[in-house]
Symmetry: C2
Subunit: 334 residues, 2 copies
């Protein structure tokens, strides 16, 4: 059973039955609950497990604590919201390293300051094997500005907020014991200390120009497939338009890996993925540029139900191929 | 380092810095956040880890899922609130038993129905060793009815909402391979399928008669010490007044254990612990009895800072002894 099938099965079994104030339950980056007439609350939860999601050999505890916050807060950014509060549950093996835990906690504190949110609770438990971190984040935003996954329309342009595959390449470098090289500093940084695009997300939500949005956590192929499935549409992505960091090719050559693979299915990019109508292009780029950000158009939303990657002709294989759900599956890692 | 010291250290490091709408951060059963002028939101999080908090050999997955909900919801009951939403993060080892996971999920669904709350999100991750469950619950209540730990006053009567030590005895029976005995069914049930005292908690909060409240999760000795510390007071508990289930003595005799030990430091009782002024006794008992519940007076809040147990004279040892923080410590289990 794949992770996605398992999640679908569980959701079918225990989907929300409480209508009332629940505007969106399972299936988007956050659950959305009415707070007042104008405001909604956003809720999300993420777990990071040692050896599965992080490796203490190369992940400094301070950066790991900060990353745990960023990963969680990124779900709030994905809706266009503002993070407010965090809950943090920490599982620790017997005889844990106290200094390591304090540095991890300082990292969580730094993450909270970075995104202007407060730690308000949690749990501390013993874990028989390795460290585990579960964070739950509470966000808030205007009800009429929430950006869901399901809002894409045929003809929309698909954008991402930054280069893809960097975190996957950084992880691959560490896994192969290639750390400490200046030329790969952006790749290491993307893996160790990603940034949740909170400010950009809020600007996009406030602009009123965006139809659908989510964050890139499982890789473009999988995440865009989710957005398309929920919008009941397909997408065509153009390989040559994918924003690219030259360090990615250097790392791919060094490791004998495929940089395109990292870009479309690497995971942990934490950039925003969004769609907006072609007529909004100029205004959207202006609004975003005014805040010092960039958006990269990478394709279009189409009729149908598949995510197609249109090759640039420089590689072998078909010019157009389906990349639906080619991302990382935690239960079936490649 | 003990669990309590670790938690204190982390809290000091990353205590909430956001005043504004945060009425209570770390340190009570739930964080309390202003929702509207009259209403507050309650947040809590709990993690259950295989081999530390549960054992699959005797815990049926359906009851485990339900228990995970009850444990979490009990924190809402502890403030007098109403549970609304749950987030659920599930860590599963590779090659997990699909049927077991589905039964667990059905248990979570049943738990949600039991307390009239909805599952609105979560995460599913791979765990290298054993199953882990983290739940986060969102509750709601009237702002002027919230019952905190810090409200106790000298002279208050201390009450519990039911017999103590049953869950600890049930766990001890299973650990010693003594399952399936009718005479111990209440002990097994208390361990496998505890009840969060949501209705009673709400009645008590609405009564306006209670000064301080919390739930009993780490054992009377530890939990009452928390309540006393936060109220800057002490307490005297009378052993002969502790509500008692005769099955407890039978189990203690069979296992060569001390039933008093289970009652004061067993943990996982999930009964409510509360204090109210002596003048409210009659009205409080009436209100509670009208809803089909009972409250057991077990002692008084006193000046000082220690929790004293006053013996009934039937056991050896001093007639009065300190039992501060004698409860279960996950990092230093006895």
């Amino acid at each position: 059973m794949k992770e996605r099938e398992l999640i679908d099965t569980i959701h079918a079994l225990i989907g929300p039955e409480k209508i009332g104030s629940l505007l969106c339950g399972i299936g988007d980056d956050c659950a959305v609950v009415r707070k007042t007439k104008e405001l909604v609350l956003l809720y999300s939860m993420d777990t990071l497990i040692e050896t599965v999601h992080f490796d203490r050999r190369w992940h400094p505890p301070g950066l790991l604590g900060k990353k745990a916050v960023s990963v969680n807060v990124s779900d709030i950014a994905a809706m266009g919201g503002r993070p407010c509060y965090l809950l943090f549950s920490l599982g620790l093996p017997s005889g844990f390293d106290e200094d390591w835990v304090l540095r991890l906690s300082k990292g969580v504190a730094e993450g909270c300051r970075r995104y202007d949110c407060a730690l308000i609770g949690g749990d501390t438990v013993r874990s028989p094997e390795g460290v585990s971190l579960t964070l739950s984040v509470v966000g808030e935003m205007a009800k009429n500005q929430v950006l869901y996954r399901h809002g894409a329309r045929a003809g929309d342009i698909v954008y991402v907020s930054g280069p893809l595959g960097l975190a996957a390449a950084g992880l691959a470098l560490y896994t192969d014991n290639i750390g400490g090289k200046d030329e790969f500093s952006r790749l290491y940084g993307a893996h160790l200390d990603p940034t949740a695009r909170v400010k950009l997300g809020r600007i996009l939500a406030e602009s009123g120009l965006v139809h659908a949005m989510m964050d890139l956590s499982d890789g473009l192929a999988t995440d865009l497939a989710h957005l398309c499935r929920q919008s009941r549409l397909g997408a065509r992505i153009f390989q040559k338009q994918l924003p690219f960091d030259p360090a990615l090719d250097k790392a791919a050559t060094l490791l004998g890996r495929d940089s395109l693979q990292w870009m479309i299915s690497g995971g942990e990019d934490f950039e925003l993925l969004l769609t907006a109508p072609p007529g909004a292009t100029k205004k959207l780029q202006e609004v975003v540029a005014n805040s010092g950000h960039l958006l990269y158009p990478i394709g279009t939303i189409s009729q149908g139900h598949e995510v197609q990657l249109v090759s640039d002709g420089s590689t072998e294989g078909p010019l157009e191929r389906s990349i639906d759900f080619l991302g990382f599956d935690h239960f079936n890692p490649k």
